[in-house]
Amino acid sequence: MAGIADFLDSLIGGFDLICYSFLMGGLFWGVFVLRPWSNSNTYNPLLLDKTIGLIYQGGFLLAAAQIFKIVLKIWLMTAVLERWPFPEFADTTQFIGGIIRAALTLIVSAYVYFVLRKHAFSKQHWWLACVVSLPMVISGAWLVHAAGRFDNRAFLMTFTVFHQLGAAAWVGGVLQLGNVWKLHKQQSIAIENWPQLLKVFSKFGMISVCFILLSGLPIALQYIDTLNALVGTGYGNLLMVKVVLLSLALGCAWLNRTAMLAYFANKQTSALFKRVPHYVEAETLVLITLLFTAASLASQPPAIDIPLLTASWQEVLNTFNPQIPQTTSPSHVALIAGEAGRVAIINQVPSLAATEWSNYNHNIAGLFLTVMSFFAMLSYTTKLPFTKYWPLGFVGLGIFLFFRSDAETWPLGPIGFWDSTFNNGEVLQHRIATLLVFLLGLFELTARITKNPLSKLPYFFPILSAFGGLMLLTHSHVGFQAKSAFLIQVGHTTMGIFALILSCGRWLELKLDKPGKDIAGFISVAALFLIGVILMFYREPLY
């Protein structure tokens, strides 16, 4: 069961940050954007009730996540060390700090639930909630990456907390915007609330982004000492992914701001009420992915610590070098024969068969996706009815991956299905990805042939591909060669970004009107094509 513990341990970091954003971002939203005490005539109690509801729900979930983190650490250590980790674990910063943070989070959440909820229009109570949350925010400093560092520890811990607060302010605000739109759609709030809050949040969001950049830059400079380290390490690579995701989210924010300014300048309502809510949805998707990437970054060794394991920019570029796809696979017998030597610690022998097996899997998957994206493009531009069946390719790809992903396990290899799935985090990840691809094909195919215009099935594709992208962004190959693992990671993270673009594009295609709909649809299919191209040229390092 170590695989599940490992899997959940990695998941909980991102979940923690989302809950933190609901709690702290919600408080910032109340104090700086909503300001209910000076707008008591404009807001109704339901808006305040729902706003505060999101804050305390996020807080209680954050406390639960913190406790669950500790449980997972105990579980993971018991599995890895093959013994009960107490009493030693009780003396660690992680245990003590984790318990304290959970208790402090409960206090903040209880204050919001029992006190602020009943004094929702009181300035004093909103500010008091922020003061009550301060010890919880500070306690988080002992649970971050920097806590174990020797150099500039206090500086790094402090700036990481500032960085988290900046992110929480932005993400929490966007989540609250979604809540406002939901209430607007239900006609539960005044019609002017939506444009007004968008206007205030637009400024607040910009300040949050400045705060994120100003706090993040000194941390990055401490952890990444050269330009090559930015390109050639897992830490640098994930940081670049964060920058790309930040740019995507800022793109959505810019569209929102443009529409908001147009509304206040000449009362253009169509963009503000028809398009902006969907840009906010896409922005939310990008920001949630960004938080999970940030959590993933915290588990990477800082680039400054691994100068000898840093890949050169030429090696990184070489992973994208166009080459003829490998269409022949080594036999399963040859692969299994090389496995003992490959995984040995003493006298390890790199397996050419394993590398070629992996290349074949990736290249064929690339061919699947490239052909599918070609048919997807045709389905938009021509009247060939059979092209609408292009998602069938995902079903075929799912079946292909099921047999090929982990050749040492069932159905091809000697290790049983359950044993491999639940005791190896990487196999579990591959199994989930396979299921995801298979379901993606089934849902999208059904969505495209259904005659029901109100069907919700089309939304499965963007949701599933977003989660697929998230898995790619955080894909990790466990191994002892950090440089090889990184060279594998770099291709996966690039595909992860395109998968997220695919998802957002499709989502907006379903939601927007023309011409935005067509533009988003084209971008979506183009992203699918690019994922296919990267996979077709994929070459795994020999290890």
């Binding site: 250590m77 060390l81 910063t93 990456h145 588990s299 003493i346 006298n347 599933l464 950090a482």
Partner: protein
């Protein structure tokens, strides 16, 4: 309402599918004594390893791996420098060996890694 519950269930399942990362590599070795001071055959010795992070020694395990990937647990103590551990190595025959460690860093990450060395 039923429709909403179905959607919520699907979302929960999807959330459970998320994969962030394997907590496998935060504490890394920054230097080790084997580079400057090799182990000689038939002599008990010490190996010093420095990490980039504070290590919780009580929650860490260091193994000597010998031919055939046989593992033997070694005794370890904290070194004099920050993040340094000192491993006691018994007298060994000439050959290829490795130090395999599972260490718990102060930031909460479990790290596994291997250092290869030759006894001559």
């Amino acid at each position: 309402m039923k429709n909403r519950q179905t959607w919520c269930s699907v979302l929960i399942v999807l959330l459970c599918m998320l994969r962030v990362n394997v907590a496998n590599a935060h504490a890394v070795v920054t230097e080790y004594s084997l580079k400057l001071k090799p182990i000689h055959a038939q002599q008990a010795d010490h190996i010093e390893i420095s990490f980039n992070s504070k290590i919780e020694l009580g929650l860490s395990q260091i193994y000597l791996v010998s031919k055939g990937d046989k593992h033997a647990l070694l005794t370890v103590e904290m070194g004099h420098k920050q993040g340094q551990i000192i491993i006691s190595v018994p007298a060994l025959e000439a050959g290829e060996y490795a130090i395999r460690f599972k260490v718990f860093a102060a930031d909460g990450h479990l790290t596994e890694d291997v250092i290869h060395f030759t006894v001559s």
